[in-house]
Subunit: 449 residues, 2 copies
């Protein structure tokens, strides 16, 4: 299935490159919208804005939904107004809202004036992109508490056939207050005359429009929810977040953690082909931060310049100690950050986690310290030099485990993102301590070296 | 909702710590199984095996499903045979199979002999845990191609009420060959006399029992699928992977990428509180690999020992150059690895990606190189030293971007995990080139320094 799609994708690419547009269009129309989006996303903007209108309206709308948000926004900025309005009407309200928010204000109002489904979308424009209110869809199947099962089924039969598919139905009172949730399966397997209030589940897990999307994702993943109803302050149902949003949020959060640990801005919009300007604004500031910690470490080394001037070989090994420490610290850090993200680790575990990392650090320190001491002794034939570097490595690996644990947990305690800046901090600290330990010990035993 | 659960959780903890078991049990029974699992997962094994049997069978089964696989396995090893058999009967077949696979063979066969739902589980035991066959559930609502909509609804009404909820139904022929898929919503909104073959979607996206779980997750997330049917070689329906498995796989894959980038084994079973022995077997080997690259870098520095002996300040700044290079390389690497994981980047993009990183590397090199040169000049009052370190930094940042791009793409090309070992390799390479550049330039201009 997937392989077939990949062959077709590469045929489309060939057709487009040789400007055989008719063939490309014909091949494109055979694909699933997700694959159409893949085919289109590679092409120059000019070509994209020409191809999208040649697709059927619902395919084109699906394609826009499957594209990256910034790609979709670029295309939306170029499409004819009428075409864009039709496409946005056809799209899921939350995705359409994202595109409208990315357009210039004038163009956005011009498009909105031509749209027929604008009433579904308007409430979404009021919320931040990364809140529950910004993520939710407003097309929700709502049942009135007074309905029987057969009423409810008849009502669903008559509802707009292309509205988003939901398998959980929401029961509200006349004012729209959320009372319960009802699975479509429970509905059809109930006796037709049953009142839906008696079969609904009134123990509803919900979130508020202002809640962060990450919190919503955690609720959904913790309780294994397929959909999460979103309410306003007075518990009126405003919309629903669906499992595909959950998947997106989880992927975005993972991207942000990976980026933060790699010392770049935790911005999931950044990807391989983001504009160079964006790349630099997300990466360069962190290199400057690293510049700071690097010069701090350099300052520590400069305190031992006299020692190094006497025994230049210390310069050869100083990076070994610091490098191993940095690596071990990054290991501990990654495990802590992931534990915090997946909620396996909380601040109250700090002593337990610390004790364990202390033991692990000592065991690592023994194993690696002995190896380092041995190699240096064999290479340089100097047992004292081997001993010093082995001891420094041991110490630095213990420090590494402790730092890699304390820094993210401290950031978490102060309600900061534990991944962000941890990495620079943690490797900076272990570098400095590693250099100080090694060069300090060497200075102490200088007469015997 | 969530906050309430957290208060109750902390009350349960207090009750258990003061050995007020009755209160703990009472509080526990009010919670959602996901929260019950949280409450139980913190406690000592002894307490866990005492508490689980005091819950109702379906709650206890839910709790086991929500626990980590290794925690659930530990508890399962201690529970009385009868209790365990009841619980496994109540659990989803794929989760029960995971537990059975983790038991000692004798105990597993003893439990299986007492289970009533073992026929659902047996096929799952034949497949690897991380394949489609190991992840799928076998409780699938299957409709026969000959049914009408009203037959199908009646059939669902009479089916076992506690079977797993599915909102997509599968249509097969008499032999079990998968013909199409039908949404519950489409079923109930169809005319009762319609033959289901005319309303089903026969363009089914499916995977094979032997496919890797990661591939299945990518299919589901790419095509926004809530469920993915799994078939054998002759296209008979064997089971279904559901969206909650997808979420688990995505989280596991993200964990593995984060670990791999942090130089530890890409094993998502590893977490903060894994046994110390497991921690060390997953981390120590990579520290040894790092030991190798660190000594390679030390060897490069040792080639310049004579220069350092003359100008000890070089030892102060060598780590600045290498450190900045390592950081910049990690940034590029993280973006590439994430791009590959999310399928935004493929091997055919190598030149485009490389060209971009070359430009970004040069711009970073200019910005950071100038700053480094300026700081060193101001600190040491030596313009040539400033120039040399600035040039070396510039060169190393360009190398960093290129290495951070080439290494993961090359690993991908050779069908290796692009995250694994990239990090050690990439920082190793930039370290070595950074040291060589800086110390080489310094040696060249030694007479003027």
């Amino acid at each position: 299935m997937k392989d077939q799609a990949e062959i077709t994708l590469s045929n489309i690419r060939t057709a487009l490159d040789s400007e055989n547009i008719a063939l490309a269009r014909q091949l494109l129309n055979k694909l699933h919208p997700a694959d159409q989006a893949d085919a289109i996303s590679d092409r120059p903007l000019q070509e994209q804005t020409e191809m999208i209108p040649t697709l059927s309206v619902n395919h084109a709308a699906d394609v826009l939904e499957h594209l990256d948000e910034d790609e979709a926004a670029e295309i939306a900025a170029k499409l004819p107004l009428e075409t864009l309005a039709h496409l946005l009407d056809e799209m899921e309200p939350d995705e359409a809202a994202d595109i409208l928010l990315d357009l210039y204000e004038e163009r956005a109002s011009a498009v909105m004036a031509k749209m027929s489904s604008i009433d579904n979308i308007r409430p979404l424009l009021e919320h931040d992109d990364d809140t529950a209110g910004g993520r939710m869809t407003t097309q929700v199947p709502v049942l009135d508490r007074g309905m029987t099962a057969s009423h409810a089924i008849a009502y669903l039969r008559n509802s707009k056939p292309d509205s988003e598919v939901h398998y959980y139905l929401y029961v509200t009172d006349k004012a729209g207050k959320l009372l319960g949730i009802l699975g479509l399966r429970e509905l059809i397997t109930a006796k037709p005359s049953t009142n839906i209030e008696t079969i609904m589940n009134s123990d509803v897990i919900s979130a508020s429009v202002d809640d962060d999307q990450e919190e919503c994702a955690k609720l959904m993943s913790h309780y294994n929810l397929m959909t999460l109803p979103i309410t306003n302050k007075s518990n009126h149902l405003m919309g629903v977040i669906t499992y595909d949003d959950l998947v997106e949020v989880i992927e975005d959060e993972a991207t942000e953690d990976i980026y933060a640990l790699a010392n770049l801005a935790a911005d999931s919009d950044l990807d391989v082909f983001s504009p160079v300007r964006m790349m630099i604004t997300r990466r360069l500031p962190w290199l400057y931060v690293n510049l700071g910690t690097a010069f701090l470490a350099a300052f520590v080394i400069s305190r031992f310049e006299a020692t190094i001037a006497k025994i230049a070989v210390l310069a050869v090994f100083q990076s070994v100690v610091a490098g191993l420490g940095g690596n071990a610290a990054t290991q501990a850090l990654a495990i802590m950050v992931r534990g915090l993200a997946l909620k396996q680790l909380e601040f109250r575990h700090v002593w337990k986690a610390l004790g364990r990392e202390l033991i692990i650090g000592m065991l690592h320190g023994l194993a690696i310290g002995l190896a380092v001491a041995g190699i240096v002794y064999l290479w340089r034939g100097n047992p004292l030099l081997g001993l010093i570097i082995g001891l420094a490595t041991f110490g630095n690996l213990v420090v590494a485990g402790v730092t890699g644990t304390i820094v993210p947990l401290t950031l978490k305690y102060f309600r900061q993102d534990p991944a962000l800046s941890s990495s620079t901090l943690v490797t900076g600290i272990t570098d400095i301590i590693g250099f100080a330990l090694f060069l300090g010990l060497a200075t102490l035993y200088l007469p015997y070296l």
